[in-house]
Structure formats: C-alpha cells, structure tokens
C-alpha cells in the first residue's frame, strides 16, 4: 500500500452510515433536535519533501481534497494560494513553513513551471 499513489481516500464508519440513514429533513415532529453525523474522511497526498507540514498544517482548517481537487497549477499560483491562506484566511503558518508548503505543492501538484 505504501508505494501506491493514493490521491484521495474516503473513509466512512459503518456505524456512521447507519446513523445518517434514518435522518431526514422532516423528522422534527418527534423531537426538537435535528442532528446528523458527518463522515470521517481521509486523504492521502503524494509523497514528497514537506508532506508532513502540508498534512498537519493545511489540515487544521480544511480537508486535503482542497489540494487534490485543484488542476495542475504553476508555482506562482500555488505561492499566491499559500500566501492567501496565511495573510487573508488566517492560517497559523509561519513564513518558513509556508515556503516548504509552497515548494511541496509546486513540485507534487504543479505544472512544472
């Protein structure tokens, strides 16, 4: 499994599936509480230098499909995205880590430009 290139993996607990099946938007007659249980997901990124930083830091705010769903993007665009996450979206990532993350994304999910 390790050397397989797993782009995206989706994990759903069987028990969770069972829970959510019974929910519908019109069940409030019985109770004033309406609840769902969100599935647990797991995304495995391509191996490469900086993967640990990306997996831990980006994952704080959003699941990693945010990376895998993107088209191949040039370095300048990845750099702008990482910059946006830090400066605009409030990610708590220091300058050094931001550089590592940009390098990783450009290398593994880039256009080579």
């Amino acid at each position: 499994m390790k050397n397989l290139l797993i782009v995206a993996a989706f994990v759903m607990l069987a028990s969770t599936s069972g829970n959510v099946q019974g929910q519908s938007g019109s069940d409030q007659g019985k109770s004033s509480v309406h609840s769902i249980t969100m599935p647990v997901t797991e995304v495995t990124l391509k191996p490469g230098p900086g993967l640990d930083k990306v997996s831990s830091l980006c994952n704080i705010c959003h699941s990693l499909e945010y990376i895998t769903m993107q088209p191949a993007l040039p370095r300048a665009t990845w750099s702008a995205e990482v910059n946006k996450m830090v400066k605009v979206m409030g990610a708590l990532i220091n300058e050094e880590d931001a550089k590592i993350i940009t390098e990783y994304l450009s290398a593994e999910y880039g256009t080579g430009k």
Partner: protein, 401 residues
Amino acid sequence: MGDPIIKFTRRDFLKTAGIVAGMATLGEIPGELLAAVDRKNLVRFPEKTDMILLTSRPPQLETPMQYFRELITPNDALFVRWHISQVPTSVDLKEWRLKVSGHTDNVLQLSMDDLKTKYEKVTMTAVIQCSGNSRSYFEPPVAGGEWQNGAMGNVTWTGARLKDILGEAGVKPGAVDVSFNGLDIPPLPSVPDLVKSLPVDKALDADILVAYEMNGQSLLMLNGFPARLIVPGWFATYWVKALSDITVLSEPFEGFWVKTAYRIPDNPCACVAPGGKVEKSIPINRMNTRSFIIDPEEGTSVKANKAVALKGIAFSGGYGIRDVLVSIDNGKTWNETQLGKNLGKYSWIQWTYSWLPKKKGKYTLMVRATDNNGESQPFDPRWNPAGYMRNIVEKVTVNVL
C-alpha cells in the same frame, strides 16, 4: 429510502475512479468497491444521495448531471457548499432563534414557530447556483472549488419574506447594509467568519425569503437547516445557511466575504483577458443567463433517421427565459425549442427539441437562451481570476451511426 448506504469499515476506502482502477491491476481492490468504480468519486453524506465529492471538510458536494432531467431538483441531490469547517450538525429548535438587531427600532428573537406563524407563508421556485459553478472549465485554470456544472439546482422554497421580518424589526432611517450570519463557525479565531451582506434596498426586495422549507420539507442540515436566506436571481453566496443573525447596519459592511472575496470585475462582462488582473471590482450579484443540454449526453451515439429528443434547461438572473435555441450544426443554423411549464421568473425552464438526423457523422449540438431582459450567452468563454459566472454557449458532441 433509495439505495442502501454502502457500508464501509475504517479500513475500506472509496477512492477516485483512477485509483480504484490502479488498485485493481494490483489485485488490491476490495470487491464491494467495484461498484464504486462506475460512480467515480461519488460519496454519500448525511441526508444526501450519492454526490460528487469536491471536499469533505467543509463539505462541498456536487449534483450529478442526471438530476437536471427534472424540473425540480430533489432535496437529497441538491449541491452542498460550505466555506468554513465548523458546520452545524445538530440544531435544537427549542434553543434556536433568529436574532434581528442593529439599526432597528426593535430587537427580534424569532423562533421557528414565530417564523412560520407570524409572517405570511410564501412559496417560490428559484434556481440556486454557486458563483463558481463550472469553474473547472476555466482556461487558464483557476484555483478554487473545482466544480463541473453541478453546483446548481431548482428548488421550491417556502418561508417568510425578509421584508416582513425587517418591517417588524423597524429599519431606522440611515440604514445602509444588512448583514447575515449563520451557525457555521471558523476553525480558528483568525479565520474570517462567513458573514454576507446586502445593500438595504436589496434586502427590502419583497422576493427575498427566509426559507424554512425546500420542496415542501424542512431544510436538510447540509442545505442550511433550520432556515436560510433565499435571494432569487442572485448567486448562492448570499443565500446564507443555518441563519442565526440578521443585523441592520448604519455603516457599509466591511466583512471579508463581501469586501475581499466574491468580487467580480466591474465591467459589463465581469471578465478580464485570460490570465489577467482585475483593476476595479464589485461584489458578485445577479446571475447571468445560462442553458444546458442534458440529453443527449456528451459522446452519445444515435441512429440516423430516428428522432432524437434533445432536452435541457435554461435560466437567468430573475427575468425569466424568452427563448431557447438549439443548433445541430455547430452554430451555423438555429432552431426554436419548445419551452416547458413556467414556474416563474426565478425558476429554470425545461426545453425540448426533436431532431431527426439524416446523415451519419459527428455533430456538435449547441444551446443558447435569451432572457426577457434580452440577455443571452457568449460563444467565447469569459475569464476572471476567481472563476465566477461562466455562462458560455454549451456544446455536446453526438455521433450519428
């Protein structure tokens, strides 16, 4: 209840089609996942049917195109798009209140019962469409939610008029904007909360609803339970879900999601040269005219001398559709289509055209709608850096055998 939910254990993975195919060659694919290969990266979230997964946290789920064969999009197939990761998963209607405050005479704390009984119940069918629907077709590509064409739907909403609610609160003279906040919260205090605003004149538009029903049922949790804003004709970024706070402001709203995000070039096409930069921007607002060929699907083979039923949908930013034309010769000649039942100016309308292909070969079908305001669709793609408002004339290639 539809298809049974596929049971997964912690060790089972539902992967993208490519990965499953890759594993299959290595003999590592669990048998129960073979069914998932055909479905590509379809996933099932609570209360939803099998949807195309964009992201799971926050959830972004796309509607498969087959559902657009229907005039009304089923609740469980309607797309899902949240912005910040702490989305509401449990709401107690005994506790939930919609607070209306700010530059008003009164502060309201409305319960669901208040919403349903104190205000006239209004029902309206309206297209809901993400600003970035079809972003994945932008060239050069732009970063963002990589939607195909399924971040849209046509839903019959029921709720109270925002105008009536604001009327009870009493908007004071000098009000400028009205802001809307929901129960979703940012993962970190440094992340901007999703709060949207409308200019006060727009907020008092009698067609804007605080909806508590979709297609006759309570809202689904992932579509904004217990109540959401409906701003018909405008992009869904304003349709704030799990609404909790309405605030009338005497100063312009300065929040991130209006002042910085969801902005378009300030020109009639909302576009710039591909790859270019925006010099002056405004908040995104009304939807532009769009139309789609739903049947036949891309790459379909049909037989010569046998009628082919072309079907699709068309909608605009609140003016209703005047006509829909189709071409079966890559745009050289155009044919009028028959329009279906009219559910009002905010709904999409279905169109049909019977085509009798005479000669074998490859045909490029096109569809082009014009709304009652005269606004149609461009033949060439319009580009902007955020990937918003794509409304190109859509094409489908069909082989006649």
